[in-house]
């Protein structure tokens, strides 16, 4: 795993596609890489891909945000600390289908407003289909999540989101730049029910290969949320700038800046916030 894996969340392989083809001789095939040490050093490992791939990462992000309470009041700037542990499994099902399962435990610790600190548990399962390598990907998924307050252990929110979406990207600038676009629709069935909502999200971005181990990224996302049980609609704009540096094969760091503008029909829910963060991720 490396920075690209983080940036591209690589998806794995399985079954028919991964089945090795042995030809000539007695028809036997070998699963060992049969590469010398120097060959691995210069070319990387070239071996048959595992049918099912497991992954995991531990990360920590420190961020300062100008409006930690996410209200119209800008006087709630705070430093937040986000430790996260994540694991996943990925399998290619053949004919362009891929299945992915990801589970995550994350936390946010507020330095000033400790009553806002929380711990979250979530899982994401995705079935996607890409008919041809350069065509857009179409996917459906489910994401159950739950957040508990550190303050009193009480439930903040829990829901299951059902998503359908598509995304697509293309390289240009001699392959040094990747542009990508995406759209998704998610309906969250929440408990308490007042958090139940439908959400449309459009996303566009660019990833640029600045140096062999350095990537820059610009992302813009627009989101429309409509709540089922309360009279509230939100329009949210998110702009993000990332710089990711790969320290070694398993470790990378990301410096990030962001701006969020949430325009809600509910006065208290409208806010703007700006933030800067520094993260470190160890992938295995």
């Amino acid at each position: 795993m490396n920075t690209r894996h983080f940036l591209l969340s690589i998806v794995p392989l399985l079954s028919g596609f991964a089945a090795a083809t042995a030809v000539a001789g007695d028809g036997k095939s070998f699963s060992t890489s049969q590469q010398s040490t120097t060959s691995v050093e210069d070319l990387g490992v070239i071996e048959e891909e595992a049918a099912v791939k497991f992954r995991g990462d531990v990360s920590t992000v420190g961020t300062y945000t100008s409006n930690a309470k996410l209200t119209g009041n800008h006087a709630s700037g705070d430093f937040l600390f986000f430790p996260t542990v994540e694991g996943g499994v990925n399998a290619k099902l053949g004919k362009g289908f891929t299945f992915d399962l990801d589970a995550k435990i994350e936390s946010a610790v507020y330095s000033r407003f400790d009553e806002r600190s929380f711990i979250g548990y979530s899982a994401t399962t995705t079935l996607d289909w890409r008919p041809k390598p350069n065509l857009p990907r179409i996917y459906i998924g489910a994401e159950p999540y739950r957040y508990d307050s550190y303050d009193n252990g009480g439930l903040i929110s829990q829901a299951i989101g059902l998503t359908a979406g598509t995304d697509w990207g293309f390289g240009f600038n001699n392959g040094n730049t990747l542009a990508f676009f995406g759209y998704s629709f998610t309906h969250y069935y929440a408990d308490p029910g007042i958090d139940t909502l439908s959400q449309n999200r459009v996303l566009a971005g660019i990833t640029h290969h600045i140096a062999p181990k350095l990537y820059g990224q610009l992302i813009y996302a627009f989101q429309h949320s409509n709540y089922d049980e309360v009279s509230r609609r939100d329009l949210r704009h998110i702009a993000i700038v990332n710089l990711s540096y790969q320290i070694n094969a398993h470790l990378f760091t990301t410096l990030s800046g962001n701006f969020v503008d949430n325009d809600s029909t509910q006065l208290r829910a409208s806010y703007q916030s700006a933030g800067a963060s520094l993260g470190l991720t160890w992938q295995f």
Binding site: A24, F30, L43, E47, E49, L70, E115, I156, Y227, A269
Partner: protein, 284 residues
């Protein structure tokens, strides 16, 4: 009469045909010329340039901007690498402990020992890659090569003499028992290996290749976490509870037939962490 006209037309066509054939021959010769020499664009540590003259082999250290002629060879020692560029845009990077040569007339890249990666642009005339155990016909292709492995990152090669195709994301390997295995490899590791970034990103191979197996390269999870825990209606109700007066008003809504309800058991009161908001309007 008809014959005369035809003859006349044939005479007119003759110079055009002659010019066409000449141009074609020149074009073919051009391809050979474009491949008859390559310029060393980068050298790391100890790289030697070898010449065979009158049955004797002469070696001297290679330096950047050296011009390597067909049928001469390059040798690298441990932790040494070099990059060659051809006039047709082809690029070859050779790894450590490698012996490499090329032939102009057949456009053959020969790896006697070690590792290399190559890029042959589309329309450049193709060529052949030859190792001690594998030979493949190449067109517009990017690939990694060791003595017993040819792995294709982009495009396609055809193994000689079997005619078997090895496409992008696949490798061909000559096994110890003489069989050849053709199987997919993990394209998420395509950028791995020191040669891939030896002199900047390998031309002809872009991030889009990785995207074909990826999800969108954007991580908005932190923004979702904060939104769900700080700004969703449930969270706002938690952190900005309704003032008691308003709550009581709502509770006193007229009912059809009042039913007696037992008084609630006394519960220990908990000190609220946040004060009721004077601007709260309810119905989040």
């Amino acid at each position: 009469m008809v014959r005369a006209v035809f003859s006349k037309n044939r005479l007119r066509l003759l110079p055009i045909l002659t010019a066409g054939i000449t141009l074609s021959l020149l074009s073919l010769a051009g391809h050979g010329a474009q491949f008859s020499e390559a310029t060393v664009t980068k050298v790391e540590n100890t790289v030697n340039y070898g010449e065979v003259k009158g049955g004797r082999t002469n070696k001297r250290p290679a330096v950047a901007s050296d011009v390597v002629h067909a049928n001469n060879f390059l040798l690298t020692e441990t932790e040494s690498r070099a990059e060659l560029k051809y006039e047709d845009g082809s690029v070859v990077r050779i790894g450590q402990n490698t012996v490499f040569s090329f032939d102009a007339s057949s456009r053959t890249l020969s790896l006697d020992k070690g590792t290399l990666i190559f890029y042959i642009p589309k329309g450049a005339g193709g060529g052949t890659i030859k190792t001690p155990s594998l030979t493949a016909a190449i067109t517009g292709t990017v690939g990694k090569v060791s003595e017993n492995i040819i792995a294709i990152l982009k495009g396609e090669v055809t193994l000689v003499p079997s005619g078997l195709k090895v496409g992008a994301g696949q490798f061909a390997r000559r096994n110890a028992d003489g069989t050849i295995t053709i199987a997919p490899f993990d394209m998420s590791k395509a950028f791995d290996g020191k040669l891939m970034s030896f002199n900047g990103q390998m031309p002809g191979f872009d991030l889009n290749v990785l995207l074909t197996q990826s999800t969108l390269p954007a991580n908005l999870a932190v923004f979702d976490d904060l939104e769900r825990t700080q700004n969703h209606p449930g969270a706002l109700r938690k952190y900005f509870p309704e003032p008691k007066a308003e709550k009581q008003k709502k509770d006193k809504k007229p009912q059809g037939t009042p039913t007696p309800t037992p008084p609630p058991p006394p519960t220990p009161s908990r000190r609220p962490r946040t004060s009721p908001s004077p601007t709260f309007r309810g119905n989040l």
